[in-house]
Symmetry: C2
DNA sequence: CAGCATATTCAACAAGCGTTGAATTATCAA
DNA sequence: TTGATAATTCAACGCTTGTTGAATATGCTG
């Protein structure tokens, strides 16, 4: 059992923890629920990950690097293909969002749970600030830089508030609360990330232009 | 002690519960923390409100009627003053958001906590659907009706997805995570609801027009 | 004042919590 | 096969949890 190939049971613990933390939050899940879902003894989670909070952090970090890389390479791709003028607002937002959709389309339920966990953390006054910044600020600031170039007349403050709006729309989407299903009488589905982004991209791009002074 | 005038201690329990639930979520708060914060015995919360979940519901419902009334009257006001053409998209969104700002400007910290609690619930896959619908769907559908009239070419599906984006931006604002403070290096502040809405209104109005086919 | 209902505290419960040390099983190199 | 190391389970701990029934305090009514 090498260090680089974690045991199957340790991965199952992460998978179940991911799903339950995303649904009920950190305090709403017990180690026994996780162990039970993973079909292992309760002590095994502590053996592999330490304290409960360490398991929480392990779940949060597990997919972060891969996620950041896929979004960053989407940004680089649209920057490379857009020549000297640089990518448009739509292209940048597309690069920001579409990788999240791909993650879902692989059929890997784990990614969906992970994104819901990010939504939980990002929207939490208690966890949000301290946990999101460390792993995601670098990437986010890179996207904001790109947007600044696409919107040369923008004031920085406006740019950040616009990003805040985008981030909020995205967060509620990732949370998959099912609220829009009820509200729309079934014509929209929370699980349909593609439809969400198909609307979110032109919506937020128009918002950026309106507030940040594109023509 | 009449039924209509709840005791001061019972109100303090609600106030503290509101604050702690908003910060840590339902499972992250114990009845002893609430009782301690309110300066009363643990058993008093059970005496007044029953089970923990009933206290949670009591907190959630306490300010809902007043909030709905203030937003609805803001909508009616802009409908009355806009003549036969009906209010613009901006006016409708303004009526949707500004009452939340007023609630904060009274200096009543309780309202800020309550709005953060709504953000927690609305973004939760576990609580969101079941709790938000009962209290807020009627009002939300009224606003969407108004938007439909202001955007006569809109497809219903597009309208709901646009509302979803607005709701997400609002939810993250109400949560007050402080993330934008860090991200912007201090030039934006989570606590500044007015600045948030000053940006959110033109941002989302432009999004609605873009997606829902205004000229 | 007495009487009574309400409000509040006190004391305790059974259940479940995270955590840990020791015992057991699995894995793999020698 | 043997021995060593990692993985896993077992069993238990001290503590906290939500809840409840009884005891006490409070405030109103007559």
């Amino acid at each position: 059992m090498s260090r680089k190939t974690p045991s199957a049971k340790s991965e199952r613990i992460l998978d179940v923890a991911e799903e339950l933390f995303a649904l009920r939050g950190y305090d709403g899940v017990t180690l026994r629920q996780i162990a039970n879902g993973a079909g292992v003894d309760v002590a095994l989670a502590s053996y592999h990950f330490g304290k409960k909070i360490d398991l929480f952090n392990a779940v949060f970090q597990r997919r972060a690097v891969e996620l950041n890389e896929s979004r960053l390479s989407a940004l680089r791709a649209c920057q490379d293909s857009s020549g000297k003028a640089g990518p448009s607002v739509e292209q940048i937002i597309e690069a920001f969002l579409r990788p999240l959709e791909i993650a879902q389309e692989t059929g890997d339920k784990g990614w969906t749970n992970y994104l819901a966990l990010i939504a939980y953390i990002n929207n939490s006054p208690y966890w949000g600030k301290r946990m999101m910044s460390k792993l995601f600020d670098k990437l986010v600031l890179e996207f904001i830089d790109a947007l600044r170039k696409a919107l040369p007349d923008a004031r920085d403050e406006d740019l950040f508030w616009c990003y805040h709006n985008l981030s909020g729309a995205l967060t509620l989407t990732l949370a998959q609360t099912g609220r829009i299903d009820t509200l729309s009488g079934g014509s929209c589905r929370s699980s349909d990330f593609r439809a969400a982004y198909d609307h979110m991209i032109p919506f937020t791009a128009a918002g950026f232009r309106q507030v940040c002074g594109g023509q």
